[in-house]
Symmetry: C2
Subunit: 239 residues, 2 copies
DNA sequence: CTCCTTAATAGTCATGTTGACTATAAAGGT
DNA sequence: ACCTTTATAGTCAACATGACTATTAAGGAG
């Protein structure tokens, strides 16, 4: 840290990129924006932008998320944002040297984003259709998907995908959607209910379902953050 | 990523910092260097340095590690280096805006580093004595310790702390040292040996031990990278 | 208003993994 | 020879899991 004069070579730009996921119609969706400028003008990309001189990368990530989704400041302030990793290949941006800190966020299914900010438009895209993104965003997105799949195993993060009150069926669908597997309903239920602090029951009548079948009881996220022991996905289909 | 002119504000410097661990005499040690320049001249710090214009952060981390430890290029090329996270608080360096990508590495017990490179000196320090470091390195070090503790649970990473051939007792001591707990020896043995690909037996006579007791069989790291199911540490003493 | 379908919830049972132990084997030291 | 030390083998109960079956409570079709 001592022998290099930072003024002796062209400086770096630092950006944040966001992999924001939601579960919609039983499929995993990711928030994408259409680029309005070169390079990659017209291509789809992860939302993100430059870190400003007096903010941290985490602050920049929240700011960009609010700008590009139109979510209220409080909503964005509350939600779970997690640093994924940093991408620093010298050629990842054709214009200049850009190092990007990637973040992941999990949202409940929300109204369509109003493509605010600078993005030409922003929209939820099924993960399967999110390919050929700008820069190295395909790679970032794949890393983010791997990460949240692993995190579901040993954290309570799945509740972040759900509205404040949710049924165990909805929670199970989060796992099934992210992992791409089917889980046994009674076993899933047993595991969730016997893990202290994962969920807590909501008093009162079940939610108006609209659908067929016995109405499900409502739960909200508990106070625990880690799962002990973890909820492992079937088969060693790990990394 | 569109509305900000990168030339419109002072640029960022990008550095790497390394939390390099080893197990020595039953205690976890971390590699520290003494700073030869202001700021924090004379203080201890994690090894690291500026990322050069044409290298990635990962390449910079390997280069710095080789420079400051005197390890051979091949050794450094082979070893497991893992990106921890990026630290970007605007005030983390009093001189200028510096964003640092932190990496973690695990080494077997090695000869004392020859404080090469720019570091006034480099040396292994017991983790308990590694406090009041320069910049935000106390925080980075704490994060790194948390991370490797968690990684030991569900990966085969512990073998990185061991020489090419090792006994199960040595492997167990890695777990006990990093987690700060005592493990039951027969149970640990059963878990390691029944996990496919964690370790494989080495043919031939046991190593000259020098010590008392029955000589232990030798093993080397297997081909697996993940542990299924994980080797959970006792008590929910997680995060 | 009954029967059928659907989904939630309750429970069973065999298997697998873990934690806490006890027992034996093979080395060095006195 | 004995004692100490460490490695290795094996036992057993508690717990968690995977694969099931059964019951309950809703909506919809005749």
């Amino acid at each position: 840290m001592q022998d290099y004069d930072p003024g002796a070579f062209p400086p770096f730009a630092v950006t944040v990129d966001l992999a924001v996921f939601t579960v919609r119609e039983g499929r995993l969706h990711v928030l994408l924006v259409e680029r309005g400028e070169d390079p990659f003008k017209g291509a789809w990309a992860l939302p993100g932008g430059f870190v400003r001189p007096r903010e941290s990368a985490g602050q920049a990530a929240r700011r960009e998320l609010a700008e590009e989704t139109g979510l209220s400041g409080e909503t964005v302030a509350d939600l779970h944002l997690e640093q994924l990793r940093t991408y620093s290949d010298p050629d990842r941006d054709p214009r200049m040297r850009v190092v990007s800190v990637a973040y992941t966020a999990l949202l409940p299914d929300l109204p369509e984003p109003r493509g605010g900010g600078d993005a030409a438009q922003a929209q939820w895209t099924p993960l399967t259709a999110a390919v050929l993104l700008a820069f190295d965003h395909d790679r970032i997105l794949a890393d983010a998907h791997d990460r949240i799949g692993a995190k579901l195993e040993y954290t309570c993060l799945a509740t972040s995908f759900c509205p404040p009150e949710f049924t165990l069926g909805e929670l199970q669908q989060v796992y099934e959607t992210v992992w791409g597997v089917d889980l046994d309903r009674p076993n899933f239920r047993r595991k969730v209910l016997t893990t202290p602090g994962f969920v807590e029951a909501v008093e009162g009548p079940p939610r108006r379902t609209g659908g067929r079948g016995k109405p499900a009881a409502l739960y909200r996220a508990g106070t625990a953050s880690a799962l002990h022991p973890p909820l492992l996905r079937p088969e060693g289909r790990h990394a």
